[in-house]
Symmetry: C2
Subunit: 121 residues, 2 copies
DNA sequence: CACGAAAATGGAAATGATTATCATTTCCAA
DNA sequence: TTGGAAATGATAATCATTTCCATTTTCGTG
């Protein structure tokens, strides 16, 4: 956990929703921070490894990052403003486990995200 | 639906699991087909638009395609051999709908995939 | 069959995100 | 202060995907 990591956490806190590496870099630059794009990618990768931020993908495949709370959870993402809500997925966990067992799969992981328009958009 | 579209459907049928555009292109080339990469992308895009194939993303963001049956469904994907199984997601549908309503989201869609190792791998 | 328009095709260049390189700078303990 | 490790960032390399554009194929009509 170095200076850049903390800087990224700070921007992510301020932006709230998901943002791409490029966007986060631009924001920092606008604020006068001379941080390099390389460092942004490095810091984000490091935070993902430490499970401090979540990484998921936009429709076009671009990676987007979000500061996340502890433990396993899923997201409700607004297509309009990018605002996201962390949600519990009790039903999902059971479903994934059951299906995996049904087909004899081991070491399973799963992804589940919901996209839509929030009440403001 | 043109010749290239049919050709892509044919390869996808033979490969079974998910494959990327680049992989599908290589397979066709190996078989002696001189189809261009551009055409592969175009055909896949067209099939996705017509909801004949599913598009999802590998961990690194690369797009992978799979011939899919009718209707809404999810996948159980083997990390080892790429073999996939289409599964029903009754529990997921309800979960997604309920959560969306709970937070006042409209026009919702959702993704849910399970990754693991199949019995052979 | 011949002709021309429209669709399809594919090679090459452009794009854009992400990663690798590498020289320079910052940190920090001894 | 100093030596080395870690961090940094500009630049170049990579790689999937798109865009461009010229050529070829398809196909309906005379």
């Amino acid at each position: 956990m170095n200076k850049s990591d903390l800087k990224m956490i700070s921007v992510l806190e301020r932006t709230g929703g998901f943002a791409s590496a490029q966007e986060l870099h631009q924001i920092l630059r606008r604020e006068g921070d001379g941080i390099g794009l390389t460092t942004v990618y490095r810091a984000l990768q490091s935070l993902v490894d430490d499970k401090i931020v979540d990484l998921l993908r936009r429709d076009d495949g671009e990676a987007i990052y979000r500061l996340c709370g502890d433990g396993h959870h899923h997201h409700l993402v607004c297509k309009g403003c990018g605002q996201t809500v962390e949600i519990e997925g009790g039903a999902i966990e059971n479903w994934a486990t059951a299906k995996a067992k049904e087909f004899g799969f081991r070491e399973v992981a799963h992804t589940a995200e919901i996209f839509g328009l929030c009440s403001k958009c």
